[in-house]
C-alpha cells in the first residue's frame, strides 16, 4: 500500500492494523511488517491509502 498526501496523521489506520505495521507522526508510514492486507484502506477517513490492484 501507498500513503498519499491526503494523510493528516490521525492514526485511525494504526488502530485497525492487525500487524502493528503502521507508524504515525504527523503522517502515517508503513513499516517492513506490512503484509499488504489493505485493511487500513477501508478505515482511512481521508482516502490517503492507495492499494495496488
Amino acid at each position: 500500500m501507498k500513503i498519499n498526501d491526503n494523510c493528516v496523521g490521525c492514526g485511525q489506520c494504526v488502530s485497525f492494523c492487525n500487524q502493528g505495521a503502521i507508524e504515525v507522526k504527523g503522517k502515517a508510514t508503513a513499516t517492513a511488517a506490512c503484509i499488504g492486507c489493505d485493511i487500513c484502506f477501508l478505515y482511512c477517513p481521508v482516502k490517503a491509502i492507495e492499494v495496488s490492484v
Binding site: C10, S15, G26, L42, Y43
Partner: protein, 425 residues
C-alpha cells in the same frame, strides 16, 4: 416522511435519533466501516483511544448534548468531572515549569493577579454578563483591559483546549457566549464507555426506531429538483427523500450538489464557503502506570510551549485502559503557519509533556494530528454559517455548523437541536 442522513458522525446520529423518534423513516449513509466519525473509540493495545474528541462533554451531565441524548432516550451515563485545574510555575515570572509548579483551581484563575486586577476581574465578571463586550477578539480585549501576561497565557490555553484556536482568533461575542454557556450548563463530564458509549446508545435508539445505517456506502451526489433536495446517489442507486441532513460540513456538502449550485443565485453562499477555515490540533495519547494528572478534570497548561491542556478520563471510567493503567491525553492547537512543520509541533508537544510530568513514568501510545480534511473543527468556532443551505430541505449539522457559544460537541448538539426546531417546529 423519509429522511436521509449523510455521514454517521455525532451530528448525523443525533439527527437520525431525533427524526426516527418522531416518525421519520431514516436512512444513514456512512463511507467508513465504523460509525461515530471523530467521536468514537479506537481500540489500541487495550486502551480506548479516540478517533478525535477526548472522551469529554464540555458541559457534562447538564449540557446540551446530554439534554438531547435524554430527549431521544439514549442509554448512556455521563459523569461530571472533577474541577479543572491550572498548572502554574512556582514563581509567576518563570517562563515555564522547569523550576517547579503548583496547580490552582480553574475558578480561582485570578489569584495570581495583583489586587487591583483582581478587583477589576470581579467587576468585569458582573458587568460583562449584563453588557456583553463585542466587536473585537479575545486577545485584543484582554490587552486593552489588563497589563498582565498571565491572562493572555490562560486565554490561549483555554481557547486552545476548547476550540483549538488562539485567543486572537476567537471573536469576543463567541467567547462571552461560551462563558454564558458555562454558567447555563455547568462544567465538563465523561461518558461511561468513552465517545463510543454515546455512539452505541444513539445507534441502539435509531435501530429500535426502525432506522437503517449503511456503512461502507459513500454518497456520490445530492439530487436537487427545483431548488429542493430530493434524494441521493449512493453505490449507483438512487435513494429518494423528503429531507436530507448532511454531517459533512458546508463545503463538502456543496460539492455533492455542485451542479445545482452553479446557478448565480448561490454565488454568495459559495463565497462564504471559501472563508470557512478548519481548526487544527494534535492529540498525544499516553499510557501511565500511575496517575499523571491525578483527577478526572481538565488540567490547563498555559506555561507549556504548545500543549494547551490534558485530561485523564480513566479516573471516571477505568475500563478505558487495561487494569491498573491510566489513559492520559493532551491537546495542542496548531497555528495555521505551523501546519507545514507538523513534526516540529509534535516534538514541542512531547518536550512539554516531559516538563509537565517530570520524573513520571509514561509511554507515548499514539500521536494523532487533525487538520484540513479531518480537522478538529470543520469551521472555526464563531465563524460557521449555521445549519441552513440555499437548497430547501437540505441542512448541514456537525462541527461545521454549530450553535453559538457551543464548545466542540456541545456546539454540535446545539446545532442539531436548532435544526430539529426548524424542521419539526
Amino acid at each position: 416522511m423519509k429522511a436521509i442522513i449523510i455521514g454517521a458522525g455525532l451530528g448525523g446520529l443525533l439527527s437520525a435519533a431525533k427524526l426516527s423518534q418522531v416518525g421519520y423513516q431514516v436512512e444513514i449513509f456512512e463511507r467508513l466501516p465504523i460509525t461515530g466519525g471523530r467521536f468514537t473509540n479506537l481500540n489500541y493495545r487495550g486502551f480506548q483511544l479516540s478517533s478525535g474528541a477526548l472522551h469529554t462533554l464540555p458541559h457534562g451531565p447538564t449540557g446540551p448534548l446530554t439534554q438531547l441524548l435524554k430527549e431521544v432516550n439514549a442509554d448512556v451515563q455521563i459523569i461530571r468531572s472533577d474541577q479543572p485545574t491550572i498548572r502554574m510555575p512556582l514563581e509567576k515570572s518563570n517562563p515555564n515549569y522547569r523550576k517547579g509548579f503548583k496547580d490552582i483551581f480553574f475558578n480561582k484563575f485570578f489569584t495570581p493577579l495583583s489586587n487591583k486586577d483582581r478587583l477589576k476581574i470581579a467587576l468585569l465578571i458582573v458587568s460583562t454578563r449584563k453588557n456583553r463586550p463585542s466587536g473585537s477578539n479575545l486577545k485584543a480585549w484582554i490587552i486593552n483591559q489588563f497589563k498582565d501576561e498571565w491572562l493572555l497565557k490562560l486565554a490561549d490555553s483555554f481557547c486552545g483546549w476548547s476550540l483549538s484556536l488562539k485567543s486572537d482568533n476567537v471573536p469576543l461575542e463567541e467567547f462571552f457566549e461560551m462563558i454564558e454557556n458555562m454558567y447555563r450548563f455547568g462544567g465538563p463530564g465523561v461518558p461511561i464507555g468513552g465517545c463510543k458509549g454515546v455512539i452505541d446508545a444513539l445507534e441502539a435508539v435509531i435501530i429500535a426506531n426502525g432506522g437503517r445505517i449503511y456503512n461502507k456506502t459513500e454518497v456520490s451526489k445530492i439530487i436537487v429538483e427545483n431548488g429542493r433536495a430530493a434524494g441521493i446517489f449512493a453505490g449507483d442507486r438512487v435513494y429518494e427523500a423528503n429531507l436530507i441532513i448532511s454531517n459533512l460540513g458546508h463545503a463538502a456538502t456543496a460539492l455533492l450538489c455542485s451542479e445545482a449550485l452553479l446557478d448565480k443565485t448561490y454565488a454568495s453562499y459559495f463565497k462564504m464557503l471559501e472563508l470557512l477555515k478548519p481548526s487544527a490540533g494534535i492529540k498525544i495519547c499516553l499510557a501511565a502506570d500511575e496517575p499523571l494528572v491525578g483527577h478526572s478534570g481538565i488540567l490547563l497548561t498555559p506555561y507549556a510551549k504548545r500543549i494547551n491542556g490534558i485530561n485523564e478520563v480513566t479516573h471516571v471510567d477505568p475500563n478505558l485502559a487495561p487494569p491498573g493503567k491510566h489513559l492520559t491525553m493532551s491537546h495542542q492547537h496548531i497555528a495555521p503557519e505551523n501546519l507545514k512543520n507538523l513534526r516540529v509541533e509534535i516534538e514541542l508537544g512531547l518536550e512539554d509533556l516531559k516538563e509537565i510530568f517530570p520524573g513520571k513514568k509514561y509511554k507515548v501510545l499514539l500521536i494523532q494530528s487533525y487538520h484540513d480534511g479531518w480537522p478538529v473543527n470543520r469551521a472555526a468556532s464563531g465563524l460557521d454559517p449555521g445549519n441552513e443551505t440555499p437548497i430547501l430541505e437540505l441542512y448541514v449539522v456537525g462541527d461545521g455548523a454549530k450553535g453559538k457559544g457551543g464548545i466542540e460537541i456541545e456546539g454540535v448538539a446545539l446545532g442539531v437541536a436548532a435544526t430539529m426546531t426548524k424542521i419539526l417546529g
